[in-house]
């Protein structure tokens, strides 16, 4: 039986229609945000420039797509339909009557649904890994810049050590099936996941050190949630099973945090060196404030401008790193619909069938572009202040 196909216009129309929930949510969010504008502070002023709106819209699009993926995708991303192998965009599945909007890949899976579901992997790992890297980088960068001396020399040396490592080599050494048999991922998890708990604890402790009643009000929940998450993520004790990551996901996550943290460290250290010469830091020192209070409550808030901009950029880099991993077949799993893996699958037949590799490539590019544009708009805003 010959396959039925949608016309190009029908493909465009139906693709747009599939994203309807995303469009509605985007209009609501951007509309209300633009309406309140300046009352929302830095966030509201993104909407002042065309570049900022475009960047924000691209990022929001993929964020909403990741959240609403089951409502957007037409097929399950893993289902293989033999009849639709390598079929061009618009081929209609005879059984369900639904179309493969972007065609089928070499195993007969729906390219469109895979791109939609692939956004979930990226959106879950990239921002979270960047956030963790930030907590590690801040917790180490602040004292290195503030105290200087041997601590700074040692930490800077270690950071440069990691930075001198070619990224690709590190991935090949750290994200392999063999390494899972060793104690390395467990140790790395135990060390790297300790920093977020330490960071939040220090934030509250340095502020409310002399007011135990308030301190425990904050510190209690922090230690409870943080401790639970720490034990779960490092795989030491996880009664609920929510937090245990698949071994390869954990490896990828750790490798990305490990590579990103030294860069953050260098930025935070540089900012600290600059800010610690300001008068308000001298004033705090004269008042007799403790070093960690000055670092976390005087220096850090004043470094937030460049850090927010860099955070945005850094999520973009992380996205690219995740794609690189997938491209080399080191992704979450060979079956996984994440964009890097899909590009890797699609490129093998690229000169004959272009449709399996192109959509994930463009998806990844548009997300990173959105993040970069957003960072650019934020930079302009913070420079204006």
């Amino acid at each position: 039986m010959p396959l039925a196909f949608l016309t190009p216009w029908q493909i465009v129309a139906q693709t747009a229609a599939q994203f309807l929930p995303v469009w509605i949510a985007m209009v609501v969010i951007i509309g209300t945000s633009a309406l309140f504008g300046y009352r929302l502070g830095t966030y509201g002023r993104i909407f002042d420039s065309g570049i900022g709106i475009l960047g924000f819209a691209l990022v929001l699009f993929w964020l909403l797509t990741a959240i609403l993926a089951p409502d957007i995708a037409l097929f399950d991303p893993y289902t293989q339909l033999r009849a639709l192998q390598n079929k061009p965009p618009g081929a209609i599945d005879a059984v369900t009557g639904l179309p493969y909007l972007f065609g089928g890949d070499a195993l007969g899976r729906d390219v469109f649904s895979r791109v939609v579901y692939g956004s979930r992997t990226v959106m879950a790992i990239a921002p979270l890994a960047t956030l963790f890297a930030y907590m590690v980088g801040i917790t180490l960068g602040l004292p290195a810049g503030y105290f200087g001396g041997w601590l700074d020399t040692l930490l800077s040396f270690l950071a440069n050590l990691v930075l001198a490592f070619p990224v690709i080599l590190l991935f090949y050494l750290l994200v392999t099936p063999e390494i899972r048999e060793t104690a390395i991922p467990g140790t790395m998890a135990a060390v790297l996941f300790f920093f977020p708990v330490l960071f939040v604890t220090l934030v509250f402790w340095s502020r409310f050190r002399e007011r135990p009643e308030v301190l425990w009000y904050y510190l209690g929940p922090t230690l409870a949630i943080g401790g639970f998450a720490y034990l779960g993520l490092t795989g030491l004790w996880d009664p609920s099973g929510w937090l245990t990551m698949a071994p390869n996901t954990l490896n990828i996550f750790l490798a990305v945090v490990f590579i990103t943290a030294p860069t953050v460290f260098r930025i935070v250290r540089g900012l600290t060196l600059d800010i610690k010469t300001r008068d308000y830091v001298a004033a705090a020192q004269t008042r007799g404030e403790r070093p960690w209070y000055i670092m976390l409550w005087e220096i850090l808030p004043n470094a937030r401008g460049p850090l927010i901009v860099d955070f945005c950029l850094r999520i973009g880099y992380t996205t690219i790193l995740l794609g690189t991993l997938g491209f080399f077949g080191l992704g979450v799993s060979p079956e996984s619909p994440d964009w890097g893996s899909t590009i890797n699958e699609g490129r093998k037949l690229l000169r004959i069938y272009i449709h399996p590799a192109l959509p994930p490539a463009l998806a990844l590019m548009s997300l990173v572009l959105g993040l970069n544009l957003l960072a650019d708009a934020l930079r302009e805003q913070t420079m204006r202040d």
Partner: protein
């Protein structure tokens, strides 16, 4: 200056030593060795046989002894035997590295002038329409990693579906029968595009800063034409910062090279690295990583020295 240099080189050697130690220990993890034993002797051997094989080949000796032995060899440029190619590592490594050097050379030829041009044109009139357009282009290129631009370029210029087929989607022939525009255009462009935007943005920032300086205003007031101001007064000072950035791009280019050599099947250093890692070829992987690390460290050193040398206002006190 000499003390500064000596210190820098000292730190560099220490870094290199630490990195080789880390790579050596990661490559020689027990599961990797077991896998190697199974590959070399046939996969269905018992654990005891694995141990015997490891003993026979000296893999069970103390870690530091083996590291010292390897390091002693590496210093004399003897990297041992490659299990995958069944040849001395040096014989395999240097020709591949030369192929990648050629690729890098053409990438630099395309990327650096392109990036500097975009950066200077954007930065000389900050805030103009020209600046906005060129800056947007620069941001777009930094958002396009090699595996994306490689795919897009192949689709446009080398696929049967679009049908242009101006260039070849494979660079294998470039390694064997010489470089031509057809087989080298896509790999070079793919790497150049991703690096270009970053250098362009640095150049733009540097140029924009220089253009606000007093001496530029003085030149304007005394009636020098805009073209002459840019060429004679601004350019030289604006190009100091991008020099550092260009040198520091090398580590990044290395990842790009690995991606592109895989994508276009160009059998250079990056391809070798992947083959070594995928086939668990311990000696080859170690040699590749030390080459990569040395490239990164040497470029860092050159960028530091060059920065001081180019900018007479910076005086290094050790």
């Amino acid at each position: 200056m000499l003390v500064f240099l000596a210190k820098r080189i000292g730190v560099m050697f220490l870094t290199a030593l630490c990195l080789t130690l880390i790579v050596f220990s990661l490559v020689n993890l027990k599961p990797n060795l077991v896998k190697l034993a199974k590959e070399q002797t046939g996969s269905r051997i018992t654990e005891q046989q694995v141990e015997v094989w490891l003993d026979q080949n000296g893999f069970n000796r103390p870690f530091l002894v083996r590291y010292g032995e390897w390091l002693g060899g590496a210093v004399r440029r003897d990297f041992g035997h490659s299990s995958r190619f069944n040849a001395q590592v040096a014989e395999v490594l240097w020709p591949r590295l030369w192929l990648t050097a050629k690729l890098m050379f053409w990438v630099m030829v395309v990327m650096v002038p392109g990036a500097l041009l975009i950066g200077v044109l954007a930065g000389m009139r900050e805030g103009s329409a020209q600046d906005r357009i060129l800056s947007a282009v620069a941001i777009a290129t930094t958002s396009t990693p090699e595996y994306v631009s490689g795919v897009v370029l192949t689709v446009i210029f080398a696929s049967q579906m679009v049908g242009l087929q101006w260039f070849s989607g494979s660079a294998t022939s470039a390694a064997d029968s010489g470089i031509t525009l057809t087989n080298f255009a896509l790999p070079v462009l793919t790497i150049a595009i991703y690096g270009m935007g970053y250098i362009a943005r640095m150049t733009r920032a540097s140029m924009a800063e220089v253009m606000t300086q007093q001496y530029i205003r003085t030149a304007r007031l005394k009636g020098v034409g805009f073209r002459m101001i840019v060429l004679r007064h601004a350019l030289r000072n604006a190009l100091i910062a991008p020099f550092t950035v260009i040198m520091l791009q090398f580590p990044w280019l290395l990842t790009g090279v690995v991606i592109v050599e895989t994508l276009f099947n160009y059998r250079g250093f990056g391809w070798l690295l992947i083959v070594a890692a995928a086939n668990n070829d311990i000696n080859l992987l170690l040699a590749c990583s030390i080459v990569a690390v040395v490239i990164v460290l040497v470029t860092q050193l050159i960028s530091d020295i060059g920065y001081v040398y180019l900018n007479p206002r910076i005086r290094v006190t050790a």
